[in-house]
Amino acid sequence: MNIIVCAKDVVDASEMKIDSNTNKPILEGISKKISDIDKNAIEEAIKIKEKHGGKITAITVGTPDSKERIKELLAMGADEGVLIPYPEKYDYHIVSKLLAEAIKKINEYDIIICGEASTDFFSGQIGPKIAGLLNISQITYAFNLNVEKDKIIGERNMGENSVTTESSYPVLVTVTKEINEPRLPSLMEILGAANKPIHEWNADSLLNDTNTKIETIDIKGISMERKNIVFKDNIDDSVTKLVDSLSKDGVLG
């Protein structure tokens, strides 16, 4: 089974602060990580490989330093990494095109796995968009996968319904966070990953047309203003004060 995993290197939104002067999120100095659900994607790929053998390639469209995070994916169990540095201008469209072209270049693949969405923008369009670009079938929002030699069966969380879908290969799968618990690599595995290759492919070498279709014209921070009154006395007093406050705020009726 040859598996390709698309993994995004994102800023950790839990560290994000809003600049009170410009009202913009401060992106500098925030640590980066592989988007959580993409780690579930890698984990699932490793499980499939453990059962069926094969090769796992992890692709990231990212910044030059995303290499550091790709190493984590290699330590977990991916065999090779591919880094495609962001072109000067990019949008969802360019990123999915770059991934689709990189997948075509790898050529031999049975399953492409993506997280259901990345934790920074939570758009979730890249996976099914790649399936559309490659014109292959898709199994989205999988919380359970059963991989057999000539078919894959996914149980999917579609909100009101749980839908079971079967497909032959090649197929694109998106997984939810519930599908598994991503492993933490051991020190030996981290050291071992240093010998695994990370290829760097240029956007220009993959795409002729690098025009974006969407431009982000502004990003506005939303700061959450709250009263932050914390009652720390004995519980009876705290409860009385809380009920009085809620009653004054008029939210009990």
């Binding site: 099914p128 079938s137 319904n161 279709k213 506005k220």
Partner: protein, 321 residues
Amino acid sequence: MIYMVLVFSDNRNLNIELLSKGSELAKELGEKLTTIIIGKSDEELANEYIAFGAEEVYIAENEIEFFKSEEFSDIIEKIINETNNNYILIGSNKNGKELASRLAGKIDAGCIIDCSNIYFKDKKITAERTVYSGNAISIEQFNSLPAILTVSSKVFDPLKKDEKNKGNIVKKKYDIEKSSSKIINVKEMQSESVNVEDAEIIVSCGRGFKNKEDIKYANELADTLKGKTIGCSRPIAADLKWLSEDHWIGLSGHKVKPKLYIAAGISGQIQHIAGMRDSGIIVAINKDPEALIFKSADYGIVGDLYEVLPKLATALKNKIS
């Protein structure tokens, strides 16, 4: 070039909401608003869509039993090619999101998922969406057409139904490309039919609860308040399964905006906050004085929820009666 607006959702209510926005955009363009029904020929529904603002309804008649992106995107692509629609609004339920994204790949279009607002700015279609777990709003503009945008339920209000509206119904059969996937089972998710999105008051449970039975303390508190809705953090629904997923609040759960949100035994991670940050008043009950949730709360009580919840229920009962 024709700039028509096309609207599609497999969910009736959501489609009616999209028709409202669609008709506003179509008016601004001086163009027609079209919608699509895929499946059985349902003229009653088509007429209803016309009463809610559609000027043309395509009925793509076929035997498809269950939604499948491969087939639906194929049909919509064919209709787009026939009609030259350039602005495509799709309902952002899970079916709609994967459909819109796949369609964008097939027709080489830009796509924006989960728009919270859509308008023309400098004559270009522009959308707003929440990013970074609710920390920011990103304003994104198409510099190319066709444009595909998805919108969740309750973002736009439907137009008033007007039975006098006139519209055109086009019935057609389309050959569907065979895809190599098939749906082998559809079953309803376990649910308790709660609707946290419409709730006025929510008492929400986190990992601070030690047993499934203890959720009763939250229930007893909720019972003293109008609204009576129980919510929860991800682990309670996804990992422990003490409550069904319709209670789940957060980035990957439901987005809620009650006038009062009481979080008990919830640590306040950003992914939980993303689902409840628009609440009116937020109350946190947590035994850890350093818990993050206090930063996102109006009022907090530092204490053991097993002691606080019963006392709070009694105090509220006395206050309200």
